[in-house]
Amino acid sequence: MAGRDLVDAVLAGRPGAFERLVREHQGLCWHIIVRLVRNPEDARELCQDTFLRVHRCLHQYRHESALKTWIGRVAYSIALRHLERRRIPIAGLEDDDGYAAIENVGGDFDLEAACADEELVRHLHAAIETLPPLQRMLLTLYYLEELPIVQIAAITGLAGGTIKSHLFRSRLRLRNALEAGKGVAV
């Protein structure tokens, strides 16, 4: 069922239509919210709030963007408000070049040969958790959801260049953290 048909079915109150809408978009909402708020319990509640609001406001959806983008935007704004209420800063490493400078990154050291893959992945996961909420979410949308930068921009309201910069810096930071964590001289 196409997005427009699904929206019409939900608005007409057709049985099972809303449940289907939730099932088709819950993955995206989960990735946006859990990466921003981190706490799974809070994230589950906020996901539920997102879909209740989607149901309440669906008549306002004008098909100007993809349904996925529109729902993603609702999830993003709900998670953002949650972080604001708790005074948690959403972005952080805007200009901490000391951490993300290319010069700091090791050159030819064969990291993979030095450590077991599993251990490296564990180390990377820990490093990802230390990223600020926005960067964590952007990486997940880009890698796991495979959304293009244009669509991420439509969801978050950020400029494409800003998203690109966040992705670049956080990837560089993770690469740096990966090598620094293994005691590589940088």
């Binding site: 099972g16 809303f18 449940e19 289907r20 939730v22 099932r23 819950q26 989960w30 990735h31 859990v34 990466r35 799974p40 994230a43 589950r44 996901c47 539920q48 879909f51 209740l52 149901h55 290319i102 990154v105 050159g107 030819d108 050291f109 064969d110 990291l111 993979e112 893959d117 490296l120 992945v121 990377l124 996961h125 990802i128 990486l139 997940t140 890698y143 796991l144 495979e146 690109k164 992705l167 670049f168 990837r171 560089l172 993770l174 690469r175 990966l178 090598e179």
Partner: protein
């Protein structure tokens, strides 16, 4: 972005594409291998997920009766009711303690004079209170 940044960005993007397409990594340099490892890690499903019946749970919330839709406001109302009832009892106790001694002789004086007519009115009043209470209890049991 300067040239070095642009070069690094291209390496990050190449690694992502290589992971998406599942390309062979034997010819990759060390930098590309690290970014591929990063891409592989970021593409793994998150450990926490939504419950399997999440969609049906959300849909069920929409069809739930209003009392279940707004448990917070219901709870707030009952707490408020309890607080107000408590306040009423405290006020009544204070007034009784302060003015009770003055009322007692007046009540005693009226009691012997009360005739059968007064008693009937009193019974009718108690009956009305009982009926109201029963009518109020009925709808609550339905919920």
């Amino acid at each position: 972005m300067n040239d070095a940044d642009e070069h690094e960005w291209q390496a990050q993007e190449r690694a992502l594409q290589a992971e998406r397409l599942g390309l062979d990594a034997t010819d990759d340099d060390a930098r590309l291998r690290r970014y591929r490892l990063l891409a592989r890690t970021l593409r793994q499903p998150l450990p926490d997920t939504l419950p399997l019946d999440f969609a049906s749970q959300v849909a069920a919330r929409l069809t739930a009766p209003p009392a279940e839709m707004a448990p917070v406001s219901g709870r707030f109302e009952s707490i408020l009711l309890g607080v107000l009832a408590g306040l009423l009892v405290v006020c009544a106790a204070v007034v009784l303690a302060r003015d009770g001694q003055a009322w007692l002789p007046a009540i005693r004086a009226t009691l012997p004079a009360a005739d059968v007519q007064d008693l009937r009115w009193l019974l009718a009043f108690v009956g009305c209170l009982g009926c109201s209470w029963l009518l109020w209890q009925g709808p609550r049991r339905v919920h």
